[in-house]
């Protein structure tokens, strides 16, 4: 069984980790989330009925776990401490370097978006999921997803230069 899980992690671990990071903006926490994701999958494998691909299923768990974390007191306390600059000692040099990196234009702009808009961009453009799959993962309607996606594109456009904006292409929903 461990071999099976290891094989699944080999195939799907990387993008689950990246999705979690794009939600929580912290690699250490993203690793914790991914750990929970694979543990949840391992424990309740029988629930995966292959109605969707394994990738979509794992992304769904990752999204839910990330939501759980963002709603948790742990995260709220973390945000509060960051705002109060009490948590300065926890800021690693790597983290500071990344934050100062001018090349992280898209990531910075993405993190400035509210979560409902950021997540549809992540799932649609980064995970390349279909609108129907996103609606299922987020437990909302396809129209809601389309509306959010349109607004998210507008919001992102305001934050990016014309050159950087081209990354989203001329996708018409």
């Amino acid at each position: 069984m461990s071999e099976h899980l290891a094989a699944i992690m080999d195939e799907h671990g990387e993008y689950c980790l990246r999705v979690a990071y794009l939600y929580v903006k912290d690699w250490a926490i993203a690793e914790e989330i991914v750990q929970d994701v694979f543990f949840a999958y391992y424990r309740q494998q029988e629930r995966f009925e292959q109605r969707s691909s394994l990738k979509t299923y794992l992304v769904k768990i990752t999204v839910h776990k990330s939501h759980d974390y963002l709603r948790s007191w742990k995260n709220k306390r973390h945000i509060l401490l960051e705002k109060l600059h009490i948590d300065v000692s926890k800021r690693t040099p790597e983290k500071e370097l990344l934050e100062k990196d001018d090349r992280r234009i898209l990531t910075t702009a993405l993190f400035e978006l509210p979560l409902p808009y950021r997540e549809v961009l992540i799932l649609y453009y980064y995970q390349e999921l279909k609108i129907r799959e996103i609606a299922e993962i987020l437990a909302s309607t396809e129209n809601t997803v389309k509306t959010r996606l349109r607004r998210a594109r507008q919001m992102l456009q305001e934050k990016l230069d014309k050159n950087d904006w081209e990354v989203l292409g001329d996708d018409i929903l």
Partner: protein, 313 residues
């Protein structure tokens, strides 16, 4: 033109982040936590058993309530009645009155005049042979507690002129020939009648179902809990079916044995049903927060039930 995905990957770093040490850590975590699978049902089972034991210890079954006495007449002459409860019962084999607070649908009598009346009945009683042909129009069970803690259980039969009762412990029958006492007792019996109006019951059921539906709808909207699919997996479906089947069996058994009249039995039944439902939803539908619906619905429904219960009593 670079795509969004490529650009983002470049910004996040193209080297893999999901490292071998992380994978090893997850596998170790999985192996370590595997043992916990049994903890979950064990804790649930333990909690249910502990609740039942607590109710058993606190309840009437856990209390030593009878001591031997020669006759009820002697007992009534020597000891004062502390309180008594009464319940209508036309069944020969069952007894529906009991300790206060533990039986549903019984009337509690603590007033001095009521206690005196029963004391007079008991003191004036004479032992008689059991007459199965005795014509009555009121049959009731009476549970009596004396000041010294002693308890007796009586099955009382009444007609216009006389009262006949049987001590459930000794099976001795007694007769009281006193029209005045029979008349006073008759008034008391009429007062203690426990009737649920059928139209009130239907109104309550409609309100109950409507509130249940509304709470479910609001919670699902608030927490984004999908209604479909109804079951998360086949395991979930199977467990729900088994739980429903067991519930029906228990309801049938409790109704046949008349256990629903016992507050402790009803509470234990409700506790087991509610806890098992919440646990099943938590176990299978935690990702979708399905247990939120079970928990909050149970609280609201219990509250509604409690209000109705206070209204009818």
């Amino acid at each position: 033109m670079t795509s969004f995905k490529d650009k983002l990957d470049k910004e996040l770093g193209e080297a893999p982040r999901f490292s071998q040490p992380l994978q090893k850590r997850i596998l170790q975590h999985v192996k370590h936590k595997k043992r916990r699978n049994r903890q979950y049902p064990t804790i649930t089972f333990g909690a249910v058993v502990m609740t039942l034991l607590l109710l058993f210890v606190m309840g009437p079954w856990g209390q030593v309530e009878t001591t031997k006495h020669a006759t009820i007449v002697e007992l009534a002459q020597q000891e004062a009645i502390k309180q008594f409860t009464m319940a209508q019962n036309w069944g020969k084999d069952s007894f529906k009155a009991g300790r206060t607070g533990w039986i549903i649908g019984q009337q509690v009598f603590k007033e001095e005049s009521e206690r005196d009346m029963l004391k007079q009945i008991l003191q004036q009683a004479t032992v008689t042979l059991k007459d199965n042909n005795f014509i009555t129009y009121a049959k009731s069970d009476i549970w009596v507690e004396f000041d010294n803690g002693q308890v007796i259980k009586l099955k009382m039969y009444l007609n216009d002129t006389e009262l006949v009762f049987t001590d459930q412990q000794t099976n001795i029958s007694y007769k009281v020939k006193n029209e005045n006492l029979a008349s006073v007792y008759k008034n008391l019996v009429q007062r203690s009648e426990f009737n649920i109006n059928s139209s009130e019951l239907i109104t309550f059921l409609v309100i109950f179902i409507f509130i249940g539906w509304l709470v479910d709808k609001l919670l699902r909207r608030k927490f984004n809990i999908p209604k479909e699919p109804k079951y998360v997996s086949t395991g979930h479906q199977r467990t729900i079916y088994i739980a429903k089947f067991l519930n029906v069996i228990f309801i049938w058994l409790f109704s046949m044995k008349g256990w629903f009249l016992h507050t402790a039995a009803t509470c234990a039944f409700l506790a087991v049903v509610i806890v098992s439902t919440i646990m099943i939803e938590y176990y299978y539908g935690r990702e979708e927060k399905r247990h939120y619906v079970s928990i909050i619905s149970s609280i609201v429904m219990l509250l509604v039930f409690f209000i109705y219960f206070m209204y009818i009593l």
